[in-house]
């Protein structure tokens, strides 16, 4: 199994400012969590493009950002992702981690987004198009509410402890690359 390497690329102090254009019931303030980049196996990151270059269906294949841990309040992730190409299948794009892998929004062929645990289809997706994901994590009630393109697709319960968000490309247990995805418009809020 490939061993992951972790590179600290950004440490940004959290700044609090009320957000003018509110997304979801607020009031929200901006949040700027730090992140590490994590690559393993055939994963690579160039700017905001995350790629797995191999078709291996085993071992750890990842190219991700891992944002800082939080354990209180309500935190919101927002980002827009485009799957540039999917020469593989079942690749996780965005995760809300609890003590273990928890909510994992992934893409599978020919074109849909699904929740890895349980397999629920969340939305149809056209490869090459952009799709926006909002994930609102309520630490008090240990749940995350996932929105795809503004629509509620799943309320995911059963979390515990501390949490963090991830994004990028990660081979799920039944998946394989290659894949290339580009994230944009990444922002975080808290209340």
């Amino acid at each position: 199994m490939s061993r992951g390497k972790v590179t600290v690329v950004a440490v940004i102090l959290g700044l609090s400012a009320t957000v003018q254009a509110q997304v979801a019931t607020g009031p929200w303030s901006s949040w700027n969590p730090s992140f590490n980049t994590q690559t393993a196996g055939c994963g690579s990151i160039s700017g905001s493009t995350f790629s797995l270059s191999c078709s291996s269906s085993s071992g750890e294949q990842r190219a991700e950002r891992r944002y800082e841990t939080f354990s209180s309040g309500v935190k919101q992730f927002q980002g827009t992702v485009r799957v540039n190409s999917l020469g593989g299948d079942r690749i996780s794009l965005q995760q809300t981690f609890a003590s273990d892998a928890w909510s994992m929004i992934a893409v599978k062929k020919p074109g849909s987004l699904y929740q890895v645990r349980g397999g629920q289809t969340l939305a149809n997706y056209s490869i090459g198009s952009s799709v926006r994901i909002n994930a609102v994590c309520y630490t008090g009630s240990d749940k995350v509410v996932n929105y795809v393109n503004g629509s509620l697709v799943q309320t995911y319960t059963g979390g515990s402890g501390s949490y963090y968000f991830k994004l990028g490309a990660y081979r799920t247990d039944s998946g394989a690359g290659p894949v290339s995805v580009t994230w944009s418009g990444i922002s975080f809020y808290q209340k």
């Binding site: 997304v23 190409s85 999917l86």
Partner: protein, 256 residues
């Protein structure tokens, strides 16, 4: 399915959470007019009127922060489909919408099917296993002969600029993967759509968006689909409609 009783209260909801606002789009006489209404605190119905002819379809797009984030597509629709309901929306949030027409010629259509002897059980079992799809990402394959690209935006050249010679080949080391290849004959496309039609469907749907100059791509049927039709469209977008804005209310089922 969630209860739809809220559909009876649009007037009250409008009074509570605000009315739709509209900002001007194109001033052309064939401009698309988009309207929106709340049909529950968190459901928005959209309808557009598109008088222009020669339109291949429309893309409906949304954003929550038009000044700072891009519009993203909610769907690609054939010309005669002019409504959409955006469901279970983020509560207490402003949604901005617009519609853009797209134009452009299409290739020949190819009809494909999986082997008749492939049973449903074997199909599902094979599909569930990892398959090698390294041949499938969009690619630019050199043409065997010189092709002079023509404009898809000029009515006199558009037909000759359509993607041509579309072929679909079942890749034998997969259970349902088709390699698609075509001749790119255009020089000013914004990209290509892979459009597909399922068995019994009346209209083609946009399956994938491809960058300009791409002429090879892979697509897999998903069980139980065994037959269908593909075609490739070279496309460009027209002027957007007016922008409409609505503020959602509290989600009665979310409880937050």
């Amino acid at each position: 399915m969630r209860p739809r009783g809220w559909a009876l209260l649009p007037a009250l909801i409008g009074a509570l959470v605000g009315c739709s606002r509209s900002t001007p789009g194109s001033v052309e006489t064939d401009a698309i007019r988009l309207t929106a209404s709340l049909v529950s605190p968190v459901d928005i119905a959209l309808e557009w009127h598109a008088p222009a002819t020669g339109v291949a379809g429309h893309v409906l797009e949304y954003t929550n922060r038009p000044g700072t984030e891009d519009y993203v597509p909610l769907g690609f629709f054939p010309p005669n489909h002019t409504t959409f309901t955006h469901l279970r929306l983020i509560p207490e949030t402003e949604f901005y919408y617009r519609v853009r027409p797209y134009f452009g010629p299409v290739s020949n259509a190819v009809e494909v099917s999986l082997p008749k002897e492939l049973t449903a059980e074997a199909y599902a079992a094979a599909y569930a296993l990892p398959e090698d799809y390294r041949w499938a990402p969009p690619a630019i394959v050199p043409e065997s002969s010189n092709v002079t690209g023509k404009s898809i935006r000029n009515t006199t050249t558009s037909a000759d600029a359509a993607p041509a010679n579309l072929q679909a080949e079942l890749v034998t080391h997969t259970v349902s993967g088709f390699k698609l290849a075509w001749t790119d004959r255009s020089n000013d496309e914004q990209g290509f759509f892979l459009e597909g039609k399922r068995e019994g469907a009346a209209e083609y749907q946009v399956y994938a968006l491809l960058e300009p100059n791409i002429n090879s791509f892979g697509w897999a049927f998903e069980p139980p689909e065994k037959t269908g039709s593909f075609r490739i469209r070279a496309y460009y977008y027209g002027e957007p409609s007016n922008v409409v804005t609505l503020l959602t209310g509290k989600d009665p089922e979310l409880g937050e």
